[in-house]
Amino acid sequence: MLTLVFILKNLSRHKLRNTLTIVGIAMSVLSFGLLRTTVDAWYAGVEASSSTRLITRNSISLIFSLPISYGDRIRGVEGVTRVCQGNWFGGEYIDEKNFFPNFAVEPRTYFELYPEFVLPVDQKEAFLRDRKGCVIGRKLADRFGWKIGDPVTLKGTIYPGDWGFTIRAIYSGRDKSADETQLLFHWDYLNETLRKASPRQADQTGFFIVGIRDAENAAGISRTLDARFANSLAETLTETEKAFQMSFVTMSEAIVSAIQIVSSLVLVIIMAVAANTMAMSARERMGEFAALKALGFGGWYLAMLILGESLAIAAIGCALGCALTFPVAAAFGDAVSQYFPVFQVSGATVLLQVFSALAVGFVAGVVPALRARSVGIAEALRRLG
């Protein structure tokens, strides 16, 4: 107990220096947590994907479409339960700063394929009845203050013109990882409009979402589907939803890598700062350590005092940093919700923060601890005199 008191009281020796070090560690733990959460947010789509959903798209590129007639042929493949066509609509609300994802989808099968998007039955019925109706996520509704019945006009970027919708339903995510920032509307509305305005683009879909009975058959079904459309004008590429989402992350892999490197560098920098604090602290106390050794304390006890102090500084900084991570991440997540629909601090991130801070504390204390351990009593006392 006295040893613990001793370690904690040692923190009061240089209040300003130790406080600054603690604040430094807290800030680096916070930065590390935010950067890790940003990386997690990048992978949120991957994490939220289902193993029983496949995505079939044009094998050349996502910007090339597929004939809607492929839907029936896909449905005929053994193991396929549902098929839903969808298009990235890419509409803008007022201007591009108000970005949010918006898709034209076949609504009945879409919500069967995505049970994680929960919407009230009456609202769902109202949406299904209204060809120009749309469904929006809870976060999107909160962002623009939209409510049921409000009209929304999107400016088409891929499909020119102003597209008017009426909000008929607001969905909520069943899980925290569900994206609540989307706007979904009837694929038929898009297709019928295109038939009149741009017939060449009609009866084409950007992708099919394919529900399968057994996730273990995903590879086999993918191969079967792609073989079925081989040597056609629009060959397909079918992959799991996870792989499909991952392909988007891979496009920005360099940014993700840079964030990961920066988050590690933050720790290395604070490690150097903490090591400097501990080195100074130990150097100032060599005479004291010599006196303790003279009293009979072994070198390992002194090393434990230094390491304990270093770990205590790191633990306080870590607690502060972790506590700050949640409100700061929430505020940051709100500010960037159009880019990162899911910005949640995960348990794994908190564990990594704790582990990193303790590692910083340990590494920062090791060299001064070893020095204290090997201090020569007579020599240190002579220097003190």
Partner: protein, 249 residues
């Protein structure tokens, strides 16, 4: 100032010649290396200290008296010779053995007190007892008793910077005696104190020598402090310059 009371002086309470010495230094030599130069500090020093004796080591700066004290206290190593303390040849002990021996057998009184500034007087005195098998409560009781013995019962919760120099040195003395060691070693214990405080500390050391029978080895420059010892030995250039008076008595 006069030496410690007559009943504890060399001629009376001090041990008779037949009793075995508590400290026996035999042909001890020690040299330090500075750069490429070897500087001899002690040259074949031999002497002995009887149980309950209060010895003052004097000599000019660099004469080797502090080195000799460090060797007796087991915080430095001899180059040659041997040192028996309480029947143990401490020159044969390894580092951990020596640390264990110091924690049980030696109480240190330093010139600059070397108290831990962040701990209270009570915690400072309790500190050496961490190495004993005593419980926390027992440790605190022992520490309180030691502080009471040095007259600081009312200063237990004060930190060193809230105490005067004399009170800090008394706290250091309480820390030195709390483990009930065989010997007390004091390196210039009054060197950093004013005359009045120095007298208080010397009175206290004499009292410990008398009432608890502690063997004390003190290094000092101060002839007035040396006067309080039973026996004064002088070192010069690493050699004892005077003969042991007991050999002539």
């Amino acid at each position: 100032m006069t030496s410690c009371p007559a009943e504890t002086t060399l001629g009376s309470a001090a041990p008779e010649a037949s009793r075995s010495p508590v400290i026996e230094v035999r042909e001890v030599s020690k040299a330090y290396t500075r750069g490429q130069q070897t500087v001899p500090v002690l040259l074949g020093v031999s002497f002995r200290i009887e149980p309950g004796e209060f010895l003052a080591l004097m000599g000019p700066s660099g004469s080797g008296k502090s080195t000799l004290l460090n060797l007796i206290a087991g915080i430095d190593r001899v180059d040659s010779g041997s040192i028996m303390v309480g029947g143990v040849d401490i020159t044969t002990l390894d580092e951990s053995g020596l640390a264990r021996w110091r924690s049980r057998s030696v109480g240190f009184i330093f010139q600059f007190y070397n108290l831990i500034p962040v701990l209270t007087a009570l915690e400072n005195v309790e500190l050496p007892l961490l190495l004993s098998p005593l419980s926390g409560r027992q440790r605190r009781e022992h520490a309180k008793a030691a502080l009471a013995l040095v007259g600081l019962a009312d200063r237990m919760d004060h930190r060193p910077n809230e105490l005067s120099g004399g009170q800090q040195q008394r706290t250091a003395i309480a820390r030195a005696i709390v483990t009930d060691p065989d010997i007390l070693v004091a390196d210039e214990p009054t060197g950093d104190l004013d005359r009045a405080s120095a007298k208080e500390i010397l009175d206290l050391m004499c009292g410990l020598n008398k009432s608890l029978g502690k063997t004390i080895v003190m290094v000092t420059h101060d002839p007035k402090a040396a006067e309080r010892a039973h026996l004064v030995r002088s070192l010069e250039k690493g050699v004892l310059t005077d003969a042991d008076p007991r050999l002539h008595s």
